[in-house]
């Protein structure tokens, strides 16, 4: 014990007289270990605390405070009490000591055993003895922290101080300038207000001491280590200003004044603060200032040049209107909402009558913002505006005017349906007839833009349950059908199809009886090239395709799905005869795919779809494969690559969302079909021969193409659905993937193998399959005739393993990197890197329930990019492009944030890739660079000279895509810091004159943008 005492005295001595700061930590450690107590530390300090020299006293207090900061949690209540009294007394001491005293008090304020009643006395002493604003930033921060700690732990005690606490704090923060401290101070004020501390007579003072910072004008210095942004301060201050209605009388005039400011950021801040404040204000606070606020908002929306200010102005008006709507009225008080809306209507109404003047849209937007706030506001505004718009529609005959009017009406109708849906007298009922006649007249107008708006309006009206009579709905559906079949403009036809989709959800029966039969009969006329009769404006083929799209789009209700699916399947079945072209079958399959996607929302429809569609497609394709004679020249249309791919994707969409119980029965049936030729799942049962898709050669070769459909099904199953005979399956797939059949079949088999491997649980089965795959790949790579197959399989298996972080993925990736220096396979392997890292559209993605770990790309990147770079450096000239291509594929798939951090090590390689003669490498490097240019100013500054000259050089590349992307990069460069660019301005402007005369228009367009932007840099007014 005595030894400990001695060492403590030694440490204290070295700290105080020896000025060794590190000793404080040692003392603190001693206290924590229990080697000595706080009391002993105080005793040891005894003499220097009483020393006549203030600096020595300060040093002593500093040591104690630092010890306390580390050990405050171990203090007992009695100790805290004694220490607090000691520190409070020290506040009266010399000013040199004050910072250390505050540190000590901060430590004590964090103690959980802080004795009751002392917080008040500490704060009183601070308020009385310390002139906070003459302290250093850090010490002021300490004071704020002490107050914050007490507010968190001793709320009740502080409240007993009443308004004195608020007043004390006002004095503490008055004049604060440091942004770090302001953030804390704003938080304290916000707590004072929201936690109901007494403000007493100091409301205005509290407002003044905070509002003097409004609007925040702070730009963090470059490389600011504290990371405080202007936005942080703005939000902190806004939370204070908008926290209480008691500030209203001071805040609102201030906001009106700031909205008049010439600085745009001040306007935006004022409007946003108003929006925030309106959340707590009611009529009584707003009353006096309404007309001033309205005229400022109106001016901003009418005259502004900025979309941002306009949007904020509208948001503020919306909030004002909402605030007024919230108040409960006493019987004799005036309804301010009513008067406010009246003044808005008065100022905006007449502009609505001039549909070709500038102010028509701002007026409509203002009215809609006000109306959107509450049902009462909506009722009042629409009751006033709708009759006016209806009348205006009839007065103006020009279709562009009518369109503007109808579009405004549409805006009000949307608000109406949002607010007044559930109410009976929704105000629209009175206008039903004129509205209908307006919309129906517009929908038959020859002007396409007017028609488009009319369709939107029809949709809004039609989706309001019970508003239109059944006769009107019939009429709407007839109009939609007519437009689908006759509209010449493809964009507006698309809009009509979309609208049909949303209306069909509400009125399925009408669509089944009126639209489906018409579309169906038009589908019967099989399109033939060149058979268009001269009379019709649109080619038959387009109409035929539209019918397919429309049938798919309206399948939004179970009863409609039951109608459309059989129709579409019939059309696929017609291809059995073999006289249909592949493109048409693909179109029907796409339509079926669309139906599958729509069915995903509804379990019942999806189940129906799955049971109907999958067996049917399998039957007809199996039959086609058996009839096929295996002659590549006249392959059956149903076995065409594109047709099978389209079928595969619709099978995927119908499988991924189905419930596992339903799937498990179809899994065994489908696996039996493919493994053993068991045709029990198929609709027909008279097959000419046996179905043996995995038989590698012989008459069944065309059958192996159907593995694509098998892949679609088994690879999109949820992971908890068990697949029977998995190991036999994997073996069969493996042999097929390396067989000498057509590329479509072996690629499908490789993908299917990979898809199953990805989901296969770790264990012996997986290891065995991977073992044998690895062997087969090795031997395949040796065999001249099977090398392409082997590379394809290798790529897909590698991908499957990379996704799930399997330990073998590194080995396989190395093999792929090794192949890059192979004379024959190098280019193919380089292209395959794209497959490895990009998202796969069909299987092995999230939707197919694949096992995908987060950040697998980043992991792949960090593990393999160094190897690629190394390989590049070691490779001979012929193979270098392969490495660059592989590298740029990998880089292109990475998120930007990752790339920016890696850029320093890669930039020289990327610049080298720009000089690589291979256009694919050039293009993918440019696409990779373009988004990075903004975030990498510092790294690029060293290379800017090379970069600019290489980019300029590529602007005359023979490939149009390269020229365009190079020019896009030149445009992106203009966002870099000015000093980096100015030395090159004249050179670039001269060089960019050349692509202005490029023979391709798309290149000239980019050249113009880049060149004009380079003219603007460093020039006044930009």
């Amino acid at each position: 014990m005595a030894e400990a005492q001695d060492s403590l005295w030694g440490l204290v001595e070295e700290f105080v007289s020896g000025q060794q700061d590190s000793k404080a930590t040692e003392v603190a450690a001693g206290v924590k270990d229990g080697a000595f107590t706080v009391l002993q530390v105080v005793e040891a300090l005894g003499s220097c605390l009483a020393n006549p020299e203030p600096r020595t006293r300060g040093r002593g207090v500093q040591l104690l405070s630092q010890v306390l900061l580390q050990c405050y949690a171990n203090l007992k209540e009695k100790e805290v009490e004694v220490l607090v009294v000691f520190y409070e007394n020290r506040l009266k001491d010399h000013h040199v000591i004050t910072p250390h005293v505050l540190q000590g008090l901060k430590a004590l304020s964090m103690s959980v055993v802080f004795p009751p009643g002392l917080a008040v006395s500490v704060l009183k002493s601070i308020f009385q003895e310390v002139h906070v604003q003459s302290l250093m930033q850090l010490d002021r921060h300490t004071v704020y922290m002490i107050i914050t700690n007490f507010m968190n732990n001793r709320e009740q005690e502080l409240k007993s101080l009443g308004a004195d606490f608020t007043f004390g704090f006002i004095q503490v923060m008055d004049g604060e300038k440091d942004p770090r401290n302001l953030l804390v101070a704003f938080q304290i004020v916000q707590n004072i207000i929201t936690k109901n501390y007494s403000l007493g007579p100091f409301v205005e003072e509290l407002f003044e001491v905070t509002s003097c910072y409004f609007p925040i004008d702070f730009n963090p210095p470059p490389n600011d280590p504290h990371g405080i942004t202007r936005e942080d301060l703005i939000l902190g201050l806004r939370a204070v200003l908008a926290s209480t209605p008691r500030f209203a009388e001071f805040l609102l005039p201030l906001l009106i004044e700031k909205m008049d400011s010439d600085i745009q950021s001040a306007k935006v801040d004022a409007l946003q603060t108003l929006t925030a404040a309106c959340a707590v204000y009611e009529q009584k606070e707003l009353k006096e200032f309404l007309s001033g606020l309205w005229s400022s908002i109106r001016r901003e929306v009418f005259q502004t040049a900025s979309d941002k200010v306009e949007a904020e102005g509208l948001a503020a008006l919306h909030a004002l209107s909402a605030g007024l709507s919230r108040s409960v009225l006493s019987p004799d008080s005036e309804d301010l909402l009513n008067t406010f809306l009246s003044s808005i209507l008065q100022d905006c109404r007449h502009h609505l009558c001039e549909p070709d003047m500038k102010l028509v849209w701002p007026s409509a937007k203002l009215l809609q913002a006000a109306a959107g706030a509450s049902s009462r506001a909506c009722l009042k505004v629409t009751a006033n505006v709708l009759p006016l718009l209806l009348e205006q529609y009839n007065q103006h005959v020009q279709s562009s005017h009518r369109r503007t009017i109808l579009e405004m009406t549409l805006g009000f109708l949307k608000l109406q349906s949002k607010w007044l849906q559930e109410e009976d007298g929704n105000g629209l009922a009175n206008f039903k007839d004129p509205l209908c006649s307006m919309v129906f007249s517009a929908v038959t107008d020859p002007s396409t833009p007017l028609q488009q708006v009319a369709v939107k309006a029809l949709t809004v009206l039609g989706t309001q349950q019970g508003f239109l009579s059944s006769g009107d709905i019939d009429l709407i559906v007839d109009h939609l059908t007519r437009l689908i079949l006759e509209e010449t403009d493809s964009q507006s036809c698309q809009a009509v199809i979309d609208s049909s989709g949303s209306l069909a959800r509400v009125h399925p029966a009408v669509f089944i009886s009126r639209m489906v039969p018409q579309l169906c009969s038009r589908l019967q006329t099989v399109p033939m090239e060149g058979t268009d009769d001269r009379g019709s404006a649109i080619p038959q083929r387009t109409v035929w395709q539209r019918c397919l799209e429309a049938l798919a789009a309206i399948s939004t209700h179970h009863s409609i799905v039951q109608e459309t699916v059989p129709i579409l399947l019939d059309h696929v079945r017609q291809a059995q005869k073999g006289d249909t072209i592949a493109e048409d079958v693909v179109a029907v399959c796409k339509s079926l795919h669309q139906v599958a996607v729509l069915c995903q929302e509804n379990a019942e429809s999806l189940c129906y779809y799955h049971q109907k569609v999958v067996p049917c497609l399998l039957s007809i394709t199996v039959l086609a494969a058996m009839q096929d004679r295996g002659n590549a020249a006249d392959l059956h249309v149903l076995l065409n690559d594109n047709v099978l791919t389209a079928m595969a994707s619709l099978i995927i969409s119908s499988t991924t969302h189905l419930s596992p119980d339903l799937l498990s029965s179809s899994v065994s049936q489908i696996v039996n079909l493919f493994l053993d030729g068991d045709v029990s799942i198929l609709k027909e049962n008279s097959f000419p021969s046996k179905f043996l898709p995995f038989q590698i050669d012989g008459p069944a070769a065309p059958q192996s193409r159907l593995v694509a459909l098998f892949m679609a099904f088994v690879c999109s199953l949820p992971r908890n659905v068990e697949i029977p005979h998995l190991s036999r399956l994997l073996q069969d797939l493996l042999s097929l993937s390396l067989a000498g059949c057509c590329a479509f079949a072996f690629t499908s088999a490789a993908k299917c193998f990979a898809g199953l491997i990805n989901k296969c649980p770790a264990g012996e089965q997986l290891d065995n399959s991977l073992q044998s795959a690895s062997h087969k790949i090795e031997s395949g790579l040796e065999d001249e005739s099977r090398r392409t197959q082997a590379v394809t399989l290798l790529t897909w298996v590698t991908k499957a393993l990379i996704l799930r972080y399997h330990p073998m993925d590194g080995h396989l990736t190395n093999k792929m990197i090794g192949l890059l220096s192979d004379r024959d396979l190098g280019p193919l392997a380089a292209d395959m890197f794209c497959l490895l890292v990009s998202d796969s559209p069909d299987i092995l993605n999230k939707a197919c329930h694949a096992d995908i770990r987060i950040m697998f790309r980043q992991r792949f990147f960090t593990e393999n990019v160094p190897k690629l770079v190394q390989g590049f450096n070691a490779a001979n000239e012929d193979n270098k492009p392969n490495y660059l291509k592989a590298l740029s594929h990998v880089l292109n798939c990475l998120p930007k944030q990752v790339l920016v951090t890696e850029l320093p090590s890669l930039i020289s390689l990327l610049l080298e890739a720009l000089s690589c003669p291979d256009e694919v490498v050039q293009l993918s490097t440019l696409t990779c660079l373009e988004p990075l240019l903004l975030d990498a100013a510092a790294i690029l500054s060293v290379h800017i000279d090379t970069l600019i000259s290489k980019l300029l050089c590529l602007t005359s590349s023979p490939s149009m895509a390269v020229r365009i992307t190079a020019l896009k990069c030149m445009l992106a460069l203009t966002k870099l810091p000015l000093p980096m660019l100015l030395p090159y301005k004249q050179q670039v402007i001269r060089a960019l004159a050349k692509p202005l005369d490029d023979k391709k228009r798309l290149v000239r367009k980019e050249a113009v943008e880049a060149r004009c932007q380079w003219f603007l840099i460093g020039s006044p007014g930009s």
Partner: protein, 158 residues
């Protein structure tokens, strides 16, 4: 710029904007040579901002596609523009912006002629003369205040 002071014409007529030019298969074909046509020139100038309003020259109908003539082979461009009101004090500035935009965006071989649509402005002749005079255009761009306003008209809208 004008800020909150009164505008000369606060509530002008607004015309519809034409959409982006559709990219055709011919545009995508590497081999074909696309000639510079009227629409391409119009696309260069239609998005120029009006000095007073947050609107483009196209929306104010100051420039129209039919008033743009280009002969790619002869390397000549002629653009007529129509001020919104006959006494518009901004006419010279608008003309200057159009001229500068075309000088920056067209190959050097082109001769650029910008003038007011006949009969639509009080001092049409004087403005046309100023715009046609190379030296006066060059001198105007030396004036940093004028250059600032022109650049604002040519900057992309925020």
């Amino acid at each position: 710029m004008v800020g909150s002071s009164q505008l000369e014409n606060a509530n002008p007529l607004i015309y519809q904007r034409s959409g982006e030019r559709q990219v055709t298969a011919q545009d995508e074909d590497e081999q074909l040579h696309d000639r510079i046509d009227d629409r391409e020139i119009f696309d260069l100038i239609r998005s120029i901002n009006d000095p007073e309003h947050p609107l483009s020259l196209e929306e104010l109908n100051v420039v129209e596609e039919i008033r743009v003539k280009v002969e790619d082979k002869e390397s000549t461009v002629s653009v007529e523009f129509t001020p919104t009101i006959p006494h518009c004090s901004m006419a010279t500035l608008i003309g200057l912006s159009i001229k500068v935009k075309l000088l920056r965006s067209l190959p050097e071989r082109f001769k650029v002629d910008v003038h007011i649509t006949p009969g639509t402005h009080a001092s049409e002749h004087a403005v046309n003369k100023q715009l046609a005079d190379k030296e006066r255009v060059a001198a105007a761009l030396e004036n940093s205040h004028l250059l600032e306003v022109v650049n604002q008209c040519l900057s992309a809208r925020s």
